[in-house]
C-alpha cells in the first residue's frame, strides 16, 4: 500500500475526529442562553420563587463545572476527559455515566442494524440482478418494482405502518422494546428467542426500506456487465443460465456493491435512530430520543460524538482493507 495514500487517509481521519470534537465542544457554548441558568430559572418558576438567589447559584455551578475558565482551558480539560472515555454524567438518570448509557445501548443497535443490513443487502442485490437479467420472468418484475418504490419511503414512516399492521391491527408481533418488560435476560435460548421476536418488526422496516437502494444499484451494474464478451462466451459454451447469472453476472458486478455495503456499515450506529424511536428499541437511537426529551445535554453530546467518531474510524478501516480485496483500488487512489 503506497505510503502517501496511507498518510493522506490517516490525516483525513484525524481531521474529521478533531472537527467532530470541536463541533461538539463549540456549538453548545456558542449558542445564546445558558443551560444552567435556564434550568435554575425553570426550577425557581415551578417552586414559586423560593430557591433563593439564582444568580449566585448559577455562578457556583459554573465554577463547579469549570465553565468560568477561559475557553481554551475548558477545551483542554474536555480533551483530557475524552481520553479517559469520560463523557460526564447523565442529567436525567443522575448516578449513571454517559459512557455507561452508551455502552448499554450499543450492542442493541449494532445487532439490529448489522443483521438487517446484511439481509437487505443479500435480497436487494439478488433482486436487482434478476431485474436486469434478460432471462428472469415476469414475476420478478411484478414483485420487484413495487419494492423499489418502497425504498423512497423513510424507514420510520414504514415502521409506523408495519407497527400498525402487524402488531395492532393483526397482533402478531410485540409493539416495541428489545425484550419483554418483565423478563430477565440470560444466555439461553428463551432469551435469544424473545430478542429475535422483538427485533422482527424494526428489522423488517429497515430491510423493506433499504432493499430498493441495493436493487437499483445492482441493476445498473448488471446492465453494464451484460454487454461484456465473457457473458457471450459463457452462453456459447452452453453453461446453465443460473451458472451464468451467479458466476459471470453477479460476480463481476459485485465490487461496487461491496464498497457500498462497507459505506453503509460504517453508518451502522446512526443508520436507524428513528426506527428505534418508533419501536422503543433500547439502542443508541432511542437513548438519544429520550435524552432530547429530557434535555439531557451530556448524553446528547456523548451520543453525537460517538456517531461521528465511529463513522470516521470504520471508514478508515474499510479504506485500508479495501486494497486487499481489489488491488486496483490502492494504486488508483493516490
Amino acid at each position: 500500500m503506497p505510503l502517501a495514500f496511507l498518510a493522506r487517509r490517516l490525516g483525513m481521519t484525524l481531521l474529521v475526529i478533531v472537527l467532530a470534537i470541536g463541533i461538539n465542544f463549540l456549538i453548545p457554548r456558542a449558542m445564546p442562553g445558558d443551560p444552567i441558568e435556564q434550568q435554575l430559572n425553570q426550577l425557581a418558576a415551578s417552586s414559586g420563587g423560593n430557591v433563593g438567589d439564582v444568580q449566585a447559584m448559577v455562578a457556583s455551578y459554573r465554577a463547579r463545572f469549570g465553565l468560568d475558565q477561559p475557553l481554551w482551558r475548558q477545551f483542554l480539560s474536555y480533551l483530557g476527559d475524552l481520553a479517559h472515555f469520560d463523557l460526564g454524567f447523565s442529567l436525567a438518570n443522575y448516578p449513571e455515566r454517559v459512557s455507561q448509557s452508551i455502552a448499554a445501548g450499543l450492542p442493541w443497535t449494532l445487532g439490529l442494524l448489522g443483521v438487517s443490513t446484511l439481509i437487505s443487502f443479500t435480497i436487494g442485490t439478488l433482486l436487482g440482478g434478476l431485474l436486469a437479467w434478460p432471462g428472469s420472468g415476469r414475476l420478478v418484475r411484478l414483485v420487484g418494482v413495487p419494492l423499489l418504490m418502497l425504498s423512497a419511503v423513510p424507514y420510520f414512516v414504514l415502521g409506523i405502518v408495519l407497527l400498525f399492521l402487524l402488531a395492532l391491527a393483526w397482533p402478531l408481533l410485540p409493539v416495541g422494546g428489545g425484550y419483554p418488560f418483565s423478563a430477565n435476560l440470560r444466555w439461553d435460548w428463551e432469551s435469544a428467542r424473545m430478542i429475535a421476536v422483538h427485533a422482527i418488526l424494526p428489522s423488517l422496516s429497515i430491510i423493506l426500506a433499504s432493499l430498493g437502494t441495493w436493487a437499483i444499484a445492482m441493476r445498473g451494474m448488471i446492465v453494464s456487465v451484460l454487454g461484456e464478451d465473457y457473458i457471450m462466451l459463457a452462453e456459447a459454451k452452453g453453461l446453465s443460465p443460473a451458472r451464468i447469472f451467479f458466476g459471470y453476472g453477479l460476480r463481476n458486478a459485485m465490487l461496487p456493491q461491496l464498497t457500498h455495503l462497507a459505506l453503509t456499515l460504517s453508518h451502522i450506529v446512526s443508520g436507524a435512530i428513528l426506527v428505534e424511536v418508533i419501536f422503543a428499541y433500547p439502542g443508541i437511537g432511542y437513548r438519544l430520543y429520550q435524552a432530547i426529551q429530557a434535555k439531557d445535554y451530556f448524553v446528547i453530546q456523548g451520543i453525537v460524538l460517538l456517531l461521528s467518531i465511529s463513522i470516521a474510524v470504520t471508514m478508515l478501516v474499510m479504506d485500508l482493507i479495501y486494497p486487499l480485496i481489489d488491488p486496483r483500488i490502492g494504486a488508483r487512489r493516490t
Binding site: 445564546p32 395492532l168 435512530i273 453525537v304 461521528s308
Partner: protein
C-alpha cells in the same frame, strides 16, 4: 429540409418520453394542488388549537377527525404540507446553489481551491448529518420553519459539490471548450457560457436529490422532537401523534394522513429523480 427543433423542445420531448418522470411530476403536482386548492375547499382556521372538540373520530365537520389539542386533522394537513415542501425546497435551493458554485470553482480552476473544497466536502460528508443537526437543534432556543431550512441546508451542499465538480472536470476537457478557449474566451465567461449550460441536466437531477434528502433530514429532526414546536409541518404532525401515543392507542387518523402524504411526496421525488437520471445517464436507458 425542416428546421431543427429548439433545444428546449427537444428536452421537453425527451422528458415526456420518460414515464417515470411524468408519473413522479404528476404525484408531486397533486400534492402541490392539495396545498393550493385545499384552503378553498376546507376551512383552515379549524387547524387552530382548541377550535374543535379534541379526539373526534373522522366524520361530520371533521372529515379526518381531530387531534388531542382540538385541531382539525384535514385542515392541519392542508397547512402542514406546503410548510414541509417549503423547508425541502428552500434547503435544496441553498444547498444546491452553494454546491454548484463550489463544484464549478473546484472543477474548473483546480489548484488550491480544489484541494480545500474537496477536503471540506469529504470531511463534512464523513461527519453524520444527523449528529450535527441534533447538536444545533438542541441548542437553539426556538425552532422555526425558516431556521430549520437553514440548518438543514448547511449540510445539503456536499453531495451537489462533488457531482458538479466531477462533471466540470470532464467537461473542461471537451473539444468545444478547447475551441472556445482558442477563440479567446476564458475564465468566468467560459464557465458561464460553455460549461454551466451543459451542466443543467445534472443540476436539475441533483436538485431533486437535494430536496429529497433535505426533507428527509427535516422530518428526522422533527420526529426526534427537535422541530418547530409552534408550526405545523408533516413531521411535527407525526411527532405529536407519536408523542400522544396515537399508534399504540389505535387512533389511526392522527398518524395515517401525514404518513400517506409523506409517502406520496417521497415516491414522487424518487420517480422524478429516476426519470431524470435516465435522461442524464444514457447508459441507464434500458428496458425495465
Amino acid at each position: 429540409m425542416s428546421r431543427p427543433a429548439s433545444p428546449f423542445a427537444l428536452a421537453l420531448r425527451g422528458a415526456l418520453r420518460q414515464p417515470m418522470l411524468v408519473a413522479g411530476l404528476v404525484l408531486l403536482g397533486a400534492v402541490v394542488l392539495i396545498a393550493l386548492v385545499g384552503p378553498l375547499l376546507h376551512d383552515t382556521a379549524l387547524a387552530g388549537i382548541g377550535t374543535n372538540r379534541p379526539r373526534r373520530p373522522p366524520g361530520g365537520d371533521n372529515p379526518l377527525g381531530t387531534d388531542a389539542q382540538g385541531r382539525d386533522i384535514l385542515a392541519a394537513l392542508i397547512l402542514a404540507t406546503p410548510q414541509t415542501l417549503k423547508i425541502g425546497l428552500f434547503a435544496g435551493i441553498i444547498g444546491l446553489g452553494v454546491g454548484v458554485l463550489l463544484g464549478l470553482v473546484a472543477g474548473f480552476f483546480r489548484g488550491v481551491a480544489d484541494a480545500v473544497i474537496r477536503t471540506a466536502a469529504d470531511v463534512m460528508m464523513t461527519i453524520p448529518g444527523i449528529a450535527v443537526l441534533v447538536l444545533v437543534a438542541t441548542n437553539v432556543r426556538t425552532m422555526s420553519v425558516a431556521l430549520m431550512a437553514i440548518i438543514v441546508a448547511g449540510l445539503a451542499w456536499m453531495y451537489p459539490t462533488r457531482t458538479i465538480r466531477a462533471q466540470t472536470l470532464s467537461m473542461r476537457e471537451r473539444p468545444y471548450v478547447d475551441i472556445a478557449r482558442i477563440n479567446g474566451i476564458g475564465g468566468i465567461r467560459l464557465v458561464l457560457t460553455e460549461i454551466l449550460p451543459n451542466l443543467l441536466p445534472y443540476i436539475a437531477a441533483s436538485f431533486v436529490t437535494a430536496v429529497s434528502s433535505a426533507m428527509l433530514a427535516t422530518i428526522g429532526l422533527e420526529a426526534l422532537g427537535l422541530g418547530p414546536q409552534n408550526d405545523l409541518t408533516l413531521g411535527m404532525m407525526i411527532y405529536w401523534a407519536q408523542y400522544y401515543g396515537a399508534i399504540l392507542r389505535n387512533i389511526w387518523w392522527w398518524w395515517l394522513p401525514p404518513v400517506v402524504m409523506l409517502a406520496i411526496i417521497f415516491i414522487g421525488l424518487l420517480m422524478t429523480s429516476a426519470g431524470m437520471d435516465r435522461i442524464v445517464n444514457a447508459r441507464l436507458r434500458v428496458e425495465s
